[in-house]
Symmetry: C2
Subunit: 225 residues, 2 copies
């Protein structure tokens, strides 16, 4: 993954460069705090972007973004390589400026570009699925292990985190000096996503106990600020 | 926008078809409840997906998705038409199944595909910017109106809502019958995004009063369930 400079010209954040950060830890923090990735691929009839569950495996130069979801199949259908862009965005607040020109949203985002490849081998795929399923909460170990047939039917994609960039926008609006003495309000309205109380399935049998990892989500900030 | 059938073959939701809905109202409801769109475009060096602020203008067959953000420029640089995919996703909960194979997320999403064009003309662009700025809350009228130069420097894209599809996943996990009597827990952990109390900018002058539209956000569900 990129160290203190862009990993490649194409992952350089061209706008808002002062806010752009390339440090490995920051990129990992945003990926850890996100819930879904929006994955884009070019198909025969134009680009398509779909939300996918994800996880991160490994660290440093070997780190990879693991993707699971409907798009995996669309990707393989596209048939012109698996060049993807996976973007994770967390909106932290609405930035209300004195001039609409400076309105914005506080956010954390990571853009990963690279060639997606299918994770091969039962053991590799099992490990990848565990990481994806445990991304939000560690629910893998308390579930019924996947069957061989479930594993066969599950497609997991891996994208190297070699080309990743992160952008963070935080704090107050930045208005023009000429507007500071004007009558217009300026500030930020924070946005917080919180997990609620777990709701048991209507067909849950008596005796099936709530896993600690699920119970522990209740009331927590879903984006780990 | 699509009525009761897919607007085009390529916007047919190929997986999870039972959950796919094409009704115009449902698509509009999801777009109204979302905050950012993830917009994908094919560039000379592969697909790129970036978050953008958006709004919806018009209704029926004339409805259009209005986009504003960094990608607008990237789009125009791409130079191979402005074929885009704009996807809005709201995650409503974590679906914990007995088998990880059936783990999922409750969500509402809309996928819009089409040719993006720049909104031309000051009056048209002013109207488009008002709609985008007012998407989360009606903050346009209480701000300083944009100057001619701000307006000139602002690029707004319009994508017709003719090719849009919506997908909603809600409710309990759907496990295999053979798992229902097992010992594993199943249920949903709701995710709720709420606006917090507005925080005035540190450089806010005395006498600048908090607009009602901003004050009204505090404590509300950001995704309008």
């Amino acid at each position: 993954m990129a160290e203190h400079s862009p990993a490649s010209a194409r992952t350089t954040v061209r706008r808002g460069a002062p806010r752009a950060v390339y440090e490995r830890d920051r990129i990992r923090d945003v990926l850890d705090a996100g819930i879904v990735a929006h994955v884009g691929v070019q198909t025969d009839d134009g680009p398509i972007v779909l939300p996918m569950a994800y996880g991160v495996r490994g660290s440093g130069g070997d780190a990879e973004l693991l993707l699971h979801g409907a798009l995996a199949n669309a990707l393989l259908r596209a048939g012109r390589g698996l060049d993807v862009c996976a973007t994770v965005t967390i909106v932290d607040g609405l930035v209300v400026a004195r001039s609409p020109f400076h309105n914005s949203m506080n956010h954390r985002s990571v853009v990963v570009r690279g060639i997606a490849s299918a994770v091969e081998g039962d053991a590799e795929r099992l490990d990848a699925l565990r990481i994806i399923n445990d991304h939000v909460a560690a629910i893998w170990d308390t579930a019924r292990p996947p069957s061989a047939s479930e594993l066969r039917r599950t497609l997991v994609l891996s994208v190297p985190l070699a080309e990743a960039s992160s952008k963070v926008r935080d704090g107050d609006p930045v208005d023009d000096d000429s507007d500071l003495d004007g009558p217009h309000w300026a500030g930020v309205v924070p946005l917080v996503a919180s997990w609620g109380e777990p709701m048991a399935a209507s067909d849950l049998r008596a005796g099936a106990s709530l896993p600690d990892a699920v119970a522990g989500l209740a009331g927590t900030d879903a984006h780990r600020r």
